[in-house]
């Protein structure tokens, strides 16, 4: 039997006055970490609000853990741990009160794991939430989501505003979650370094439309920057799958999203260097190419 996809979005549309999320389709399989990457205002938070039932789509279909959203949100959210950088706990209550509150709602609450996270994150359960620093607050919210052992973690920019050490700790914790192959994470961020570190699947979104979605390794293998040196007066070769071309005299830099050794062979001795690209470089090149294609 095919396991239920943890996230299925089909041709989803959501229009606001100044922004439209258009024709978005997305799948997340059990056991996957999907990095959901886009610039500010790309539609990441809107997508996540749709997935968590906070807003309803104008068109299209959304299923989370097999439940139609937003209608089935009350059942789906029993198995979703949702954390957003905008989410705040109750300032006048302690972390311990929050832990007991969540434990009383979720039967799967893992008290031992919660204690371990308290130690690992160096939190003080008896402290009022209003006294927590930004980083501590994010860790507290994550603790409350992780210790309920959800099948699906939806994280909206969870590492924004955190120092590198705190980010490192959190990312390590997400990797721990994925040791259970039945669990999955949708991780939205504009920090490509974080996404590159933990994701096994990556989706790029820009200005409300999906730009590209693929396995991380596939992205890293497909995208290359090729530096050529062409003879004076000769034309720059016209090649398919070249998303950008920068000419500086006889030096040409091509960026391709379909790299192969055949391409290098075709270019022959004009090739000076073939560079792998970081996820951030791929992201920027991909978004810019996408905007160019759409005439934006």
């Amino acid at each position: 039997m095919t396991p239920t996809k943890h996230i299925e979005m089909r041709n989803v549309r959501k229009a606001f006055r100044f922004f439209t999320l258009d024709d978005l389709s997305l799948d997340l399989e059990p056991g996957q970490i999907m990095g959901f990457v886009g610039p500010n205002g790309a539609g990441k938070s809107t997508t996540i609000r749709l997935l968590t039932g906070l807003i309803a789509p104008d068109a299209g279909e959304i299923r989370v853990l097999g439940h139609a959203m937003p209608e089935g949100q009350a059942i789906a959210k029993r198995d979703i741990g949702f954390v957003s950088d905008e989410m705040r706990l109750f300032g006048h209550a302690t972390l311990d009160w929050h832990m007991r509150f969540i434990a009383s709602i979720y039967p799967g609450w893992d008290a031992e794991y919660a204690k371990a996270l308290v130690r690992r994150f160096n939190l003080h359960p008896e402290q009022n939430v209003s006294g927590l620093s930004t980083g501590e607050h994010v860790k507290a919210v994550l603790l409350l989501a992780l210790a309920r052992r959800p099948r699906l973690l939806i994280l909206d920019e969870p590492t924004s505003g955190l120092d590198p050490v705190a980010r490192h700790e959190l990312l390590g914790e997400f990797m721990e979650v994925l040791k259970d192959e039945e669990r999955s994470i949708l991780f939205s961020s504009h920090n490509t370094a974080d996404v590159e570190r933990i994701s096994d699947r990556i989706t790029f979104i820009d200005r409300g439309t999906l730009v590209d979605s693929s396995d991380k390794e596939d992205f890293l293998e497909r995208w290359r920057r090729i530096q050529l040196q062409i003879a004076p007066g000769s034309a720059v070769p016209d090649l398919p799958h070249v998303v950008s071309k920068v000419i500086d005299g006889q030096f040409v830099t091509l960026t391709t999203n379909r790299f192969s050794e055949d391409l290098v062979a075709f270019l022959g001795n004009t090739v000076r260097q073939v560079q792998r690209m970081s996820l951030e470089e791929i992201f920027v090149a991909n978004v810019m190419h996408h905007r160019e294609l759409r005439g934006q």
Binding site: G53, L89, F90, A93
Partner: protein
Amino acid sequence: MNMLARKLIAKDFFLYRWLIIGSTAAGLIGLLIAAEGKVRFNIGMLTWLTTIVAFGVVLVMLAIASERKERQLQFVLSLPLSHGDYIRIRVIGLLLCFIVPWAVLTVGAITLIAVMPNLPDGLLPYAVLMCGFFLANYSVVLSSALHTASEGIMTFVIIVTNMNITLFIFLVGGLPSLNDHLQGPVAVWNGTFWIVLGAEIATLLITLSLPYLFAARRRDFI
């Protein structure tokens, strides 16, 4: 009522416990002052009245408007509940949070009038109607807060509902069929009393039904 609803209502009682206790205590102190003679009666009853009204407004603003503004609503809505569940829990929970001090202070005021020899029992129907009015007035504030995120609209609602108290005192207190018996030795529960009480109950039921009909059916919650 399911377990989650009970937990969330208990959460409201926990978070606003000092507000509930403090308001009840302030209202009771007002009643104690009112019990000390005719001059102090007015000061005490004004304290009692102000406490109930201010408590209702502060409770709604903290529990709904601040929860939304300080982004705690996302945390609450991440729990396994639907928008309809949230509205239902909010209406029941915040009504109960208000009713506890309101009931104590209503019983206190009625007992004060009934027990104090220098206060005519003819005041009793008017006191009951005034307490009923506080509850109806609170339901308007609560219902409005569940329908709008606009601070401007909420400020307008709070101003109007506060002005209504003055109107109530003069208009309802000025009705001859009630006013004629205020200084009498016996409480008169006549037709006017029941009509006004009925209007208050109708206001309460209608305003608290509106969130189920409209706010709970909103497709976009944040």
